[in-house]
């Protein structure tokens, strides 16, 4: 049987709704779960706090005393892969102090006191690496597993594998920065060659968070109700000719779903029912943290309502600290540290952390040497990320880099391994979650090419 047809029928037959996705798992059935890697699948949803630009691991997560010893001197460790190769300088000091946090004693920079407060709830991976030192391609690798633009993102794959839990809300929601789009724009949530039904839906601020969600003002409620009734009536007469065709019935019910979404979406975005304590936790009382905190809180509300994948983005690529590295990190941490940690704490206190993965990462790391006077250039050989909940270990530090933080050297996790592990926590087998494309079964991890493997040490 042609798998494409099967897939197509699958979402047609089930598309009684959902802006985002339709469950396919039941049709793909046992093939999603392979015999060798039996997923546990505690997680039901993912919140990705994406940090565009490449946060500096050695200034935030991965203390390297050697940097300060060698500061201002030529890098002693041999050749470095440098993106802007004409601006390479000497070793750049990491000025911020590190301290131990939680019972696990996780070492973190003084810029991340709130992350420190959730140290016992997170897994910190210090030994990540990726395959490109160019922003766009590195973004695509971490979002889609592949170098080139236009492929399905992780959120689309998750949705394709798991479907929606609330058909009145998009199942893959993007909360992008009111200040503007991140670098690489909408491609960060594209469904690529997966059907458009699996693409991320950006929620904008304002009274029409989704394109075309709002009934135009000139159409009164009664007129719209009449119209929906009329459409239903003539479409039912048409569908009667093809009683076997589930696509036609799905199309009829989609008009009703669309109408329900008109109330469900604004309700999810309305924070008025949240307590003052919750708002304070997320930093809504502080102009520095308010905007990011608001989106973190909305992310929790969406997950509570059954949204599968929520992703927060920042305007542009603020962590891309090619100059004034230390100074910029201070501002960025002030904005994101408290709300990010608040999200983990809030989910935990509501009993949602077991079923929700919170992921904090950028697309790559930075170099131990300076770029120009006080910046750091891109580094694909090492970066740090943290992940919480959903079956990941808590209070755990994984892997290590060399003495200068240039290269991951022990327990190295590449992006594909991380993807495989992440899917695993959702009960999805990365080898089986495939879609026919370009004449072959395509997947997020493409294990035949990348040799992606689950990292068991990360799992509780």
């Amino acid at each position: 049987m042609n798998p494409f047809q099967m897939t197509r029928r699958a979402f047609l037959s089930r598309s009684a709704g959902s802006l985002g996705g339709i469950a396919l798992a039941h049709l793909l059935g046992p093939s999603l779960v392979s015999a060798t890697e039996k997923p546990r699948g505690k997680a039901k949803a993912i919140i990705s706090l994406f940090q565009h630009g490449g946060p500096s691991q050695m200034d935030l997560f991965d203390q390297k005393p050697e940097l300060n010893k060698w500061a201002g001197k030529p890098y002693p460790g041999g050749n470095l892969e440098v993106h802007f190769d004409k601006q390479a300088g000497n070793v750049l000091e990491a000025p911020y102090k590190f301290g131990r946090h939680g019972q696990c004693g996780m070492e973190l920079s003084e810029l991340l006191p709130h992350t420190g407060s959730i140290a016992d709830d997170i897994t910190l991976i210090r030994s990540m690496n990726t395959e490109s030192v160019d922003h766009e391609s590195a973004l695509r690798i971490i979002h889609t597993g592949r170098f080139l633009a236009g492929l399905p993102t992780m959120g689309s794959w998750v949705l394709y594998g798991l479907g929606s839990m609330n058909e009145n809300l998009p199942a893959y929601v993007v909360l992008s920065d009111p200040g503007g789009l991140p670098v690489d724009g909408e491609r960060n949530w594209s469904s690529g060659f997966l059907p458009a039904v699996y693409q991320g839906t950006p929620f904008r601020s304002g009274d029409s968070p989704v394109f075309n969600l709002k009934t135009p003002g000139k159409i009164p409620a009664r007129a719209r109700a009449n119209q929906l009734e009329f459409i239903k009536h003539i479409n039912q007469r048409h569908a009667a000719l093809f009683p076997e065709n589930t696509e036609l019935t799905a199309r009829i019910s989609n008009f009703e779903t669309a109408a329900r979404m008109q109330t469900a979406v604004p309700e999810a975005l309305d924070l008025s029912s949240e307590s003052a304590a919750t708002k304070k936790l997320y930093g809504l009382d502080n102009p520095v943290t308010e905007e990011y905190g608001r989106r973190c809180l909305v992310a929790r509300r969406l997950v509570e309502r059954g949204v599968r994948f929520v992703q927060l983005f920042l305007n542009g690529q603020p962590w891309d600290t090619h100059d004034k590295n230390a100074e910029r990190l201070k501002g960025l941490c002030a904005k994101t540290d408290q709300p990010s940690a608040a999200l983990v704490r809030d989910l935990k206190s509501r009993g949602l952390l077991d079923s929700t993965v919170v992921l904090w990462t950028g697309e790559f790391g930075r170099l131990p040497i300076s770029q120009g006077k006080d910046g750091r250039d891109h580094n694909r050989h090492a970066f740090s990320l943290w992940v919480a909940g959903g079956g990941f270990k808590s209070g755990y530090v994984h892997g290590a880099t060399d003495d200068f933080g240039y290269k991951s050297v022990s327990d190295v996790v590449n992006v594909h391994d991380f993807h495989a592990t992440l899917l695993h926590t959702l009960g999805l087998d990365h080898r089986a979650l495939t879609f026919p494309h370009e004449g072959r079964p395509s997947s997020l991890t493409d294990p035949d090419v990348t040799d992606a493997k689950i990292v068991p040490a990360l799992l509780a």
Binding site: N2, R8, F11, L12, S15, G17, S18, L19, E81, V82, H83, F84, D85, E136, L148, A149, G150, L151, L181, G185, E186, G192, F193, P195, A196, V197, T201, R204, F211, N212, L213, T215, P220, A223, R224, N226, Q227, E229, F230, I231, I234, N235, R237, A239, L241, F242, P243, E244, N245, L248, A250, R251, N254, F255, A258, P436, E438, G439, R440, D448
Partner: protein, 934 residues
Amino acid sequence: MDAVVSLRRMQLALIIFGLGLLGRTTAIAVDHQKAAATHWSFQPLKTPLIPAEKAKSTLDRFVAHDLKVAHLSLSPEADRPTLIRRVAFVLTGLPPTIEEIDLFVSDRKAGAYERMVDRFLASPHYGERWAKIWLDAAGYADSNGYFNADTDRPLAWRYRDYVIRSFNRDKPFDQFVREQLAGDELSGWKPGQSATPEIIELLEATHFLRNGQDGSGESDGNPDEVRTDRYYALESEMQIIGSSLLGMTVQCAKCHDHKFEPITQKDYYAFQSFLYPAFNIEKWTKPQDRIVQANLPGELESWSSADKKLDDLQTELKRDFAAWVVMNRPAGKILFADKFDGTSLQGRWSNVAPGDNTPGGTPPVNLDSTQAPGAVIKNGQLQIVEGGGSGDRWISTTQSFHWKPAATGEWIQASFDLVKRKLEDKGKDAERVAYFIALHDFDHSSQVSGGNILLDGNPAGATSVQIEYPGPSAKSIGEFTAHYKPGQNFGVRVTRTGEDKFVLEHVVDGAVEGKAIELKGADLPDGGFGFEYCCGRSFIVDNVLIESSNSADPQWLKSNEAFQTNFATKRKSFEDASKAITAKRTPKPGRIAWMSDSDPIPPEVHLLKRGNHKTPGAIVEPAFPVFFKPDRETLKVEPGLTTSGRRLAWARWITETNSPQSGLLARVTVNRIWQNCFGTGLVSTPENLGLSGAKPAHPELLEWVASEFVRGDWKQKPLLKTILMSGTFRQRSLPTTEGMARDLSNRLLWRFPLQRLDAESIRDAMLAASGVLQSKTNGPYVPTTRTPEGEITVDESKPEAFARSIFLQHRRTQVPTFLANFDAPSIVFNCTRRAQTTMPLQSLSLLNSEFALKRAEDFAARLKRECGADDAKRIDRAFLLISGKHPEPADRNIAAQFLTDQRAAYADKPDADKYAWADFCQSLFAANHFLYLQ
């Protein structure tokens, strides 16, 4: 002679390659080679035996035979309105017009259906529909992709038009393929020669090779990254050729032998070596520079002379306007005037600003010298000779002025004529024409702050205004918007508006333009007027004039007021006339975005270990994959080419008569054609007919159709006619009990499959039904835009906004939201088949999008225009326009009832009827009668 040598070399390489392959190929690859030896699609075409079944056509006999085996039969023929709608959408992507429907339905003579099919095959819209199908397969886009910028491909449309023309003329497909792979080599044309229409067509065709994503125009990383970016353009094109022509996933063999197909890694690089001379990584041309000028004899000359005439008109217009200003503007009190009629600048101009100790900049400007940086009088004008280098410098008037007028309402202004933005005709235009007022201090030695106000005159964008420039205290205080184009007079005016309030205004051709910038007294110390030297920007000015208001003189006040009034009128007519001239201009003809070899001598091509260009392996010679049994092929490189001839050799090979590879090409092509008639191909994986592809439904039929296609000289129109004339195509789409029981998925085609229209057909049909479809047939794309909310739309206030979707900008990152919702792809490599989804976003866009709402209003207006106020007539026509059929009585009643209800719902509005009809029309766009082809 050369050709013979390289032919020998290639043959030799082929033998070595064959041996080498056996020596090192893995067991899996050997198995694939064995399987390939008998795989159906890798064999030369065989004409199958025609089944004995009785049926309308030969094609039907194959279908009927397979159906009979499954105890099924073809369904009866659909009714005429259904048939014409089906034929119209399949052949043209547009709904039939009412006239076309009437003509067919009322044609009672024998052969009516065939005549109707012939009419649509002859329609120019045929080429638009089938071009779009090929353009998707060929990976066409109007942008480069790859990087965030997704930069424009401003000339790609010429390839799109070439494809449309090729389909409309029914160019044999094998020729079409050869042209796209090697049009430059086929043409025998060399840059600089004059061209014929045929040659131009061949050069345009090579844009096929540029369709892949290509970020090499913007690469900014280290040398390895730059090479990676270039390889991507080459590899993307290989992948496009693989899936669109060969129906194979060649890209999998980039790093290792293909896991599922008989393509070895060596095959991959041997194939790459055919394209490499055009994509030579070491002699790379960026996409924006891969432009060639090819003109018909005399074409450029007649364009140049027409363009020159427009230039002259424009110059004359400007001169008249400027002369009028000079004649009529009452001069203020002249504080300083220089017409540069003398021979020396000494005394009036200096490289030291008044009040400053040292010259402005190092080295300082040489007065009365052409040695850069220099300032010299030539032809009665002042030449600013800027020689590049770093740092700012200036020349200034030696005279200092009071830039703070004493009383409210009084002003002081500085102005000059901008003559030219370069010194010599060949030179580069200056990107800025910058000047200063209140100039007094270069090196921050002065006790007085403020001043040094720089006006960074910009011909292309906004003019930034900086204070205390240059130096660390420099800051921007605002912008002016007028563009600094030669032939106009520019300047600034400072007016006192209050106690310590001043405004700085832009003065163009003597009159204030745009918004004012507010200043304080401290910003305006006494100082000179001067021109800035920076960044290799030379220019020529004349008539520097510093003057102040003369409001003490009532006569002056009066004539100034009169001037300002007349000026507004005069400028309006000047601008209108300018616009009219601009509208007459046409872009320089003959620019083609093409592809050709960078060098006639083929460079060495290496196999890349693990696909990585940092680990090159053995040198690879061009050779065809072993599983096509190329030992029976002769590799021909044609003599006398200025290129390597490799692409042409490959193009001739892939289209060689009776070969296994041309058999594969024919099968891939007819499968794509079939897919676009029936929704699904006979092979459901059109991009993969290899070992791992889907098995064909009706294998014998596919073989027969492909053979017919090749026998018919690879022409698509006769093939489509064969398909459309068949009983298989003309069947009803309604379900039957037997069909549902025995072949639920309709793989055997016991009925015509119900299909949702594709995205472009939906949009185009909405434009057609609402009567606003424009008849654009070629030319530059219609731009799409991103609204502030991020929705991608077409600005309806722009011309050609209602053109067919194929003419819209195909920017990879900017697929119109309406089309994307209905599964229009964003092109990564290419798209050989589309998803067909059903989702609430589609319902929302049909209910609430501006596009749907506006078309509904247009549709309602059209009904009223054509049917008057008669409800029944309007309802009938509406159904006919959206479904090709008159409504059934029940539909009529439902519609009439809805209109009644809707008028009541809008009862409080004066134009309730209009609203009701718009809602009715919009609802019909959301009706499945419209969205589906049955």
